[in-house]
Symmetry: C2
Subunit: 337 residues, 2 copies
């Protein structure tokens, strides 16, 4: 009766398309190897606002508006906004949603927000409950550091496994148009907890969740790595990327020759970001500006995209809890499936 | 093409049903006028755990398990959990989802989480992407007070407009069975901001959002208050309830004779809660234990249920932002629509 094809996976009978997308990044991200591909690069991380939080909100909102106008649409054409961010009570997404005035479903999935929002947006369009859905997320190095770690003014030393939160926002307009690329499958993650308690080693916390979601996707669809030109994770960083490869090898899947992590792509080695990048914006801007462009240019026909979230809070860390993580996978396909 | 019937409203072609529900509340809630209707009343607000946060997580998890077992189902039968709570990074829902092991979509809508989760759960089932979806939320007076306001040990005086966060959790199992009650319409809220900056007057912040969602629902469905035996809001409290009535009267809708707010129902006047109750659990436990029971007993055939969320954070308040709010409406109907 339902479109379910396995424990965690659904195949979308009417695959929605990604009609348009927009990416905005901070100065440092603009100086990285993908700098030329982003729609907007900030001159400084305040973006003309009085606080970093307000700057992040403005990035979210402007990415959303840019995705809408690129598609030749207007705000009132959009049926739903699915969005979230890293900040307490997702204030970035909330204030942006207030300013945009679009019916809003607020999400919290930490850095898994991109594929969480795309999963729910795709279900809503595929089920014919919406014609146009906007999926958006953001993060900001300065807002994340002072919320999750230390005041920036303190200049705390960063550990080798630390990752650098991407300053940026990405927005994706999904529609029921028949125009590639399409979202054809959705694999929804479970919380996975390997007992990691070091909030500066989120790659190790997230890698098992990414590996579990990839494994679930392969099993549910009865396909392996060969079915994809590229497998992309959100922000495992260099340690987490290697760990995910190892964990999947133990399960009998070798993904190493077609696997990239957005957290290892956005900055160059000489940008001093230690284990790589992280943040909701990491997969959003790398996928939006770089990977989708490569798909449109024919480099990749079918990819498996997973955003990965470490679901900790300062309270949970202080109370000695380990860090559970989640990864949601979507298949992006230039064919309708 | 789509099932949309207005700017913010959809009619569900295959209305899902609420197959089972469970409610757990704290000691004070158990001593209130609805005390006898809750499934579980805690003896103390630690629930055998070492912290209030862990107690809240245990309530969430046990409410979820109780809803599942009441329906004669097992955890592995549940396709998705849609849930959220008030705490930073929704740690309650995350850790409960980890322990439950169900594919999870994390939501943040503050006290609007109940109807946000029911909206998305209903879309997912109605679109045939799931057979069984669990919607759950929680709040805890002690975790909310120390996160949003003051340390409890400080004994800060509460203002007349202050509301008391409900300690409790509610879980609802949605399915595609043909068994009343059904969820037949969904009206998704926009963020509404009337410029309220007093974090101790959330009723005034939320009432305009509730009124706007009720008005949108009436306009989209071309029906008025007469179409409902009861209109229920989440946690406006006594000030917010009166304000919502006034705002709708100005729009030409008189709802006063069939309107209740869950925040005015759960505690009695002598329980010293000032303007009433609040919290994600407020609408969840009052709807689950009290209103659904009345529907099953024939008192109400068709109700409009709105959970209402004030989308503030301590950071946004400190930066002088006003408090935007949201309300999501669902129609609960003993007939299939």
């Amino acid at each position: 009766m339902s479109n379910r094809i396995g424990g965690q996976t659904i195949k979308l009978e009417n695959p929605p398309c990604i009609l348009s997308r927009a990416t905005i990044v901070g100065k440092k991200e603009g100086e990285g190897p993908l700098g030329e591909f982003f729609d907007v690069v900030l001159k400084d991380d305040y973006f003309g606002e009085k606080s970093w939080e307000k700057a992040e909100c403005r990035m979210f909102q402007e990415a959303a508006m840019l995705a809408i106008t690129k598609a030749g649409k207007q705000v009132q054409d959009i049926n739903y906004l699915f969005g979230g961010d890293l900040l307490n009570q997702i204030i970035t997404a909330n204030y942006a949603a207030r300013n945009l005035g679009i019916p809003f479903f607020g999400l919290y999935g930490a850095c898994s927000t991109l594929t969480e929002s795309m999963s729910l947006g795709a279900i809503t369009i595929s089920g014919r409950y919406a014609d146009l859905v906007l999926c958006a997320t953001s993060s900001h190095f300065c807002t994340a550091e002072r919320q999750f770690r230390y005041p920036l003014e303190m200049g705390a030393q960063r550990s080798p496994t630390a990752q650098w939160t991407v300053t940026g926002a990405g927005a994706f307009l999904l529609s029921n148009d028949d125009k590639p690329p399409y979202i054809t499958y959705i694999t929804t993650g479970k919380l996975i907890d390997y007992g990691i308690t070091d909030a500066n080693n989120m790659g190790a916390a997230m890698a098992p969740a990414a590996a579990a979601a990839i494994k679930a996707h392969f099993e549910d669809t009865q396909q392996g790595p060969d079915a994809y030109d590229l497998i992309v994770t959100g922000d495992l960083g260099s340690f987490g990327r290697d760990l995910a490869i190892d964990l999947l090898k133990k399960e009998g899947y070798d993904i190493a020759d077609r696997f990239i992590d957005c957290g290892c792509e956005i900055f160059s080695d000489d940008q001093d970001v230690h284990a790589g990048a992280s943040g909701c914006a990491c997969s959003a801007v790398v996928f939006g500006a770089h990977i989708l462009k490569n798909m449109e240019e024919g480099k990749y026909k079918r990819i498996l995209l997973l955003s990965t979230g470490a679901l900790l809070s300062t309270t949970s860390v202080q109370q000695g809890e380990s860090i559970p993580s989640i990864a949601h996978a979507v298949v992006i396909d230039m064919n309708r499936g």
